[in-house]
Amino acid sequence: MSNTTADETGQTTDERELDAAGSQLSTTPREELPSLPNLPALGVVGWLRWTWRQLTSMRVALILLFLLSLAAIPGSLVPQNNVDEFKTQSFKDNNPGLSEIYEKFQLFDVYSSVWFSAIYILLFISLIGCIVPRSWQFVGQLRGRPPGAPKRLTWLPAYVTWRTDAEPEHVRETALAMLKQRRFRADPAGDAVAAEKGYLREAGNLIFHIALIVILVAFAVGSLFKSEGGKLIVEGDGFSNTIPLYDDFKPGTLFDAEDLEPFSFRLDRFNGTYERTGPQTGTPRTFEAHVTYSEGVDGPEKKKVIKVNKPLLVGGSKVYLIAHGYAPVVTVRDGDGKVVYDKVAVPLLPIDANVTSTGAIKVMDGYRDKNGKKDQLGFNAFFVPTFAGAGKGEMFSQFPAADFPVLALSAYHGSLGVDSGLPQNVYQLDTSKMKEFKDKDGELLKKRLLPGETLELPDGAGSITFEKELKEWASFQISQQPGEGLALFGAVAALVGLVGSLFIQRRRVWVRAVRGADGVTVVEMAGLGRSESTKLPEELAELAATLHEKAPTAPAEVSADPAEGAEK
């Protein structure tokens, strides 16, 4: 309502007065409608000032905020590098033409793109430009006093009046005491008492907006100084927190390897249970990684169970359980019958919900064929924890637990290509430089193995045994996120501020008591809030009732219009 321009009509004075009464009831900036600046008259400074004023206006803040919400949308429709690199890559492979356009607009990295950043940076500049002056203004308001009573209280949104035999001074004193007792900031102002309450609303609003900046800072700190890496560990194996031991490692731009928390842990056992009956048979029920860990370089060993929602906390690092799978244990013998691979667990990657898994077994060193010549062996491995039974369709797992494990292998020999210097996927066999082992019919040598069974390679080339012992693996994400605490603090502060800002009403109450023309005191009370709330009239009624007890209505013979008497 502070926007009513009072110029022509007969109500001018009233409205202007109302304007003054409501002035500074909040620190919301006044909207200047976009009067285009007088072009020639504006110098560089003038332009800058104009731009700044526009940027920090509510209208532009609103538009920027709206733009930000729209700009966030593409990131949910186009696969994002930071969310799922694999999915993004396969999208690019499938849509090469479209991807080029997408790349140009940074649609695979929306949240770190130039345009997204531009919007939120502008928004936050606007926010700072808005908060600073509003905070000063608010401090000023805290020091100041509520404005005096407008001449015509009848114009205010809630109004009440009555006549009383009590003295005007007495009424004003009583009103002052009553308002102060109800935690209004109240002051006598001429023939009236002026009071205000609900300053916390403004404080809440400022806290909320400042907290938004804190959250942004926390985000920035988090993405600059974080570290995040993945590690797959087979039961019985361990890990210590240094960069070379990670399978993949993604540090923030300003991350320093020195900042890695020193600790180590070993996966003792992985435990997975699954629904056995009902329509959701096979749905995971529990995943538990039993680990032994030690803090520092060689701290005492401690035991802990890591679950999906319960990471292991070591200092500032958290170890999350991300995925699991099977690692069949195999023994490989060479042409001489010498064991070259002694009970090695080979982790395989799950390809469906029932943990049908694929992978490769690569025997790089120590293998000699029956002639004693150095060679390398490679096996394509296909594993199902629960086999349907021979002759029952394709070999896919029927259940995620290891009820009826079967390992199918096909065998190759030759160069694994690991010395070529090119990075190799450990779960895939590159057969381009390898020869197939042949079975009796001259086909690729393949066999399904039950635990304990052995695949003999032809012509005494050796053998591979699927050991009875079956291991599981678990993969972990180990992350350090330095901004986390700050973000939580910001979020809580924002919430508290918001509650204050939205639930507290800031309002003013005036009580005027003057002697009317007939010598009887006329009491007038009026209230003004920032928004028209039903609570304001209720509160005024309550205040009026309290005051009325102390200054009851004078018995009137004729019901004159007392409001008239009050006007001067």
């Binding site: 109004y159 999906v308 009239p537 209505t553």
Partner: protein, 361 residues
């Protein structure tokens, strides 16, 4: 063990029957509301409401404040509380609220009351359905979209009934509410139905209970805000037409004239949205904490997170618009509606169309 499993299956069946029965009761409530609106349209009040409201406007503008001091007979004056006179802010229309769906007719009102009673009964049945479902799975009933939907509509009706109990003016919403509740339950039982079962490990966290329960509640309340906003837009156009001296169409004369005034609807929508906005903020924070525990990153921009953020930002826009000159009123209302659309999309669209870590439908 087996015995327990059997009881659970029985409970799940009972729950299904209860939900279907609730739909039957809501359908009766729907027809009662239709009867209320039909009888209301025959009322004189309905037809002359337009005239009344414009007269009312003139009267309110000129009303002079007065003290009413009643004196009872017999000399001693019994003094009543002085009366508070309220006026609207300068510039806003002074239009009285419409009489409600029943249009002031006794028959309409009777059917309206029947409708509300049936809605309350439907609520009790549906709530028992939700509770038995929870008992059958021995956890909170929010593990999949079917459970989410039945809880959502039950909470929406619960909030509506609570507001009625608190003597708030929300009966005008009855027909729209019951219709959408039927729609929601229909979709839930036909397309989203999932047999009862336990949760996958990623969903098994007490943050789930906090995050999902507040999300459902926020959705139900945002929904009421959206209904208020939509009706505000219609009613505002109607009042504007009256104000220009135009002749509203038959629909407006019969239906819109019975609704509360545009100012009342707008205020209702604002209050409702503003009141749950902090809770929605909390929901997102709780979700971030949960994500931090489950996936190691508290904010990862997965589709559900993106759309929660979008919803939050658009509601913040709406609240801002209400405080910005030139954006109050209709423009703010469009933002408010858009905000609810983003919420709906986050619920249906993201779960079914976009898949992310959240997809558990």
């Amino acid at each position: 063990m087996n015995l327990a499993a059997a009881t659970n299956e029985n409970l799940a069946m009972i729950s299904d029957v209860l939900i279907k029965s609730a739909m039957a009761v809501y359908t009766l409530a729907f027809f009662a509301h239709i009867a209320e609106w039909t009888f209301g349209s025959r009322s004189k009040v309905g037809r002359t409401a337009a005239a009344l409201t414009s007269e009312g406007a003139a009267a309110a503008g000129a009303a002079a404040p007065a003290v009413r001091v009643k004196q009872s007979g017999g000399g001693t004056a019994v003094l009543e509380r002085p009366q508070v006179v309220t006026r609207s802010a300068a510039g806003s229309r002074d239009v009285a609220d419409g009489p409600g769906a029943h249009g002031g007719t006794e028959k309409g009102d009777l059917y309206g009351r029947i409708a509300v009673s049936l809605t309350a009964l439907g609520f009790l049945v549906a709530a028992s359905g939700v509770v038995t479902r929870a008992l059958s799975v021995q956890r909170a009933p929010w593990g999949n979209m079917y459970e989410f939907s039945i809880t959502f509509s039950t909470v929406a009706v619960g909030v509506y009934l609570a507001l009625l109990l608190a003597k708030k003016n929300v009966r005008w919403m009855g027909l729209v509410l019951v219709t959408t509740v039927l729609l929601d339950l229909g979709i839930a039982t036909t397309w989203l139905y999932t047999a009862s079962d336990q949760l996958v490990p990623a969903l098994d966290s007490y943050w789930l209970y906090i995050h999902v329960s507040t999300a459902i509640f926020c959705g139900a309340v945002f929904y009421m805000g959206a209904v208020g906003t939509l009706l505000y837009l219609f009613r505002d156009a109607y009042e504007a037409k009256l104000g220009r001296g135009g002749e509203p169409g038959a629909f407006a004369r019969s239906v819109l004239s019975r609704l509360p005034s545009a100012a009342t609807l707008d205020k209702f929508a604002y209050r409702v949205n503003a009141a749950v906005f902090p809770l929605w903020t909390f929901t997102i924070i709780a979700g971030a904490i949960w994500a931090g525990e489950a996936w190691g990153r508290y904010w990862n921009w997965d589709p559900k997170e993106v759309w929660s953020f979008v919803t939050w930002a658009v509601y913040a826009c709406y609240l801002h618009a209400r405080a910005t000159a030139g954006w109050k009123g209709r423009k703010a209302a469009y933002l408010g509606l858009f905000a609810f659309v983003t919420w709906l999309w986050n619920y249906y669209g993201v779960n079914m169309v976009l898949s992310g870590l959240h997809s558990y439908a």
